[in-house]
Symmetry: C2
Subunit: 105 residues, 2 copies
């Protein structure tokens, strides 16, 4: 898979750390974002938080933790941004982890 150039830094696949991925997924609001992306990429503006009262700065921070851990990509697209799970990278580095998390209830 070709390297994707972005305005925001994303760790390379080989730099992903299990602990960081688990931490990023350990928060209900962050986990909810990942679940929204399970069926495919989503515009950031369409990604909603569980609690609509959460300020925009908090939403940005949640996205940042997920991106810096390597769980999601956050790329510019047109005038907005598009979010997606780094499924191939995660499945290769931590086989079965993402599926286990997404199927858990």
């Amino acid at each position: 898979m070709a390297e994707i150039h972005s305005d925001l830094p994303h760790p390379a696949k080989d730099e992903l750390r299990l602990e960081s991925v688990l931490f990023a997924l350990s928060d209900p609001a962050r986990l909810d974002i990942v679940r929204q992306l399970a069926d495919g990429p989503l515009e950031m503006a369409r990604c909603h938080l569980m609690d609509p009262g959460i300020p925009k700065s908090t939403k940005s921070h949640l996205m940042k933790v997920l991106r810096e851990a390597g769980v999601i990509r956050n790329l510019p697209q047109g005038r907005g941004r598009i979010l997606s799970i780094r499924r191939e990278d995660l499945d290769e580095r931590f086989p079965g982890l993402l599926d286990a998390v997404l199927t858990a209830t």
Copy 2:
């Protein structure tokens, strides 16, 4: 499986929360403890921390986070304590998660 009575509180299987389990596993020192228990129960005194300079109070706290999340059991045995992974409970509640975490490198 019969309920196990202990001096320390352990959440029931149905009370386990994915986020709490992921959080408990998201710390290198806690993850190392879980890996030591992967082959079977271990006396707490034989469970060593990665960093031998970590104070005993920190070791106790690491065990507490793992126990309260439902990842490990911490039961009295003789004059010591015995630690074990709650594998059956975790596998039933979050199929594949523990294996994915333990096989990840």
